[in-house]
Symmetry: C2
Subunit: 131 residues, 2 copies
């Protein structure tokens, strides 16, 4: 490599979030996943049944929703409660732990929601610059 290296001394992160093999990455992926994030924010305001979530979250397939829920449950964020009624009824809610993760996620989604216009405008300007 005939090219000079970076001149800046790079501080290595104390935490291992940036290490490729750290499980932190996996957990973060679960939380920030396309459907997982929406589930967390929704459950922050109320518990919901499977079909209610499927209805509320536009464009999600049953498979993907079930998958996201199972992962979040395994991680300890979501509680799955089966009511042995006929027909079966399954309630999903947040654990206290899940509530803690969901909170900043909600802040994030609300910020994005509030500023979509700004982002879209910026995207247009970027596109124009290329064309």
């Amino acid at each position: 490599m005939p090219w000079p290296k970076s001149t800046k001394t790079v501080r290595i992160r104390k935490g291992n979030l940036y290490a490729a093999d750290c499980p932190t990455r996996d957990v973060l992926d679960d939380v920030t996943s396309r459907w997982g994030s929406l589930v967390l924010v929704l459950l922050l305001e109320s518990s919901y049944r499977f079909s209610e979530l499927a209805y509320l979250i536009g464009g999600v397939s049953e498979k993907m929703l079930a998958q996201a829920l199972r992962v979040l449950e395994a991680d300890g964020f979501v509680l799955r409660t089966v009511h042995a009624t006929k027909p079966p009824k399954v309630e999903y809610s947040l654990t206290p732990f899940g509530r803690e993760v969901a909170e900043p996620m909600k802040v994030l989604t609300e910020f994005v929601q509030k500023n979509v216009g700004k982002v879209m405008a910026h995207r247009e300007r970027s596109k124009a610059r290329v064309a």
Copy 2:
């Protein structure tokens, strides 16, 4: 469908975050993407060059990093500054707007980082229950 519908009246979200065709989803995906999220949190503390980011973020390929940076730039979160030196030097930093999104994301990553152990423990117990 011989099955009874949901008995709970479901409030339709005011925002359209949950609509399948809403651009809010796209933006959220950019921000919460595997590499995008890490980039945002890193740039919160300092600006970095491309190669520095590539070094700091373990496991990222140049392609994916460049891709993440380009979308974040197009969205108006990241500023790309080219120094016409020899060899070329490109600095990436957050815009004030980007700083606003990155903040809650940092809260999220720090929470996850702090509680990885708890999650991993819960995962083990879940696995045990299945086996």
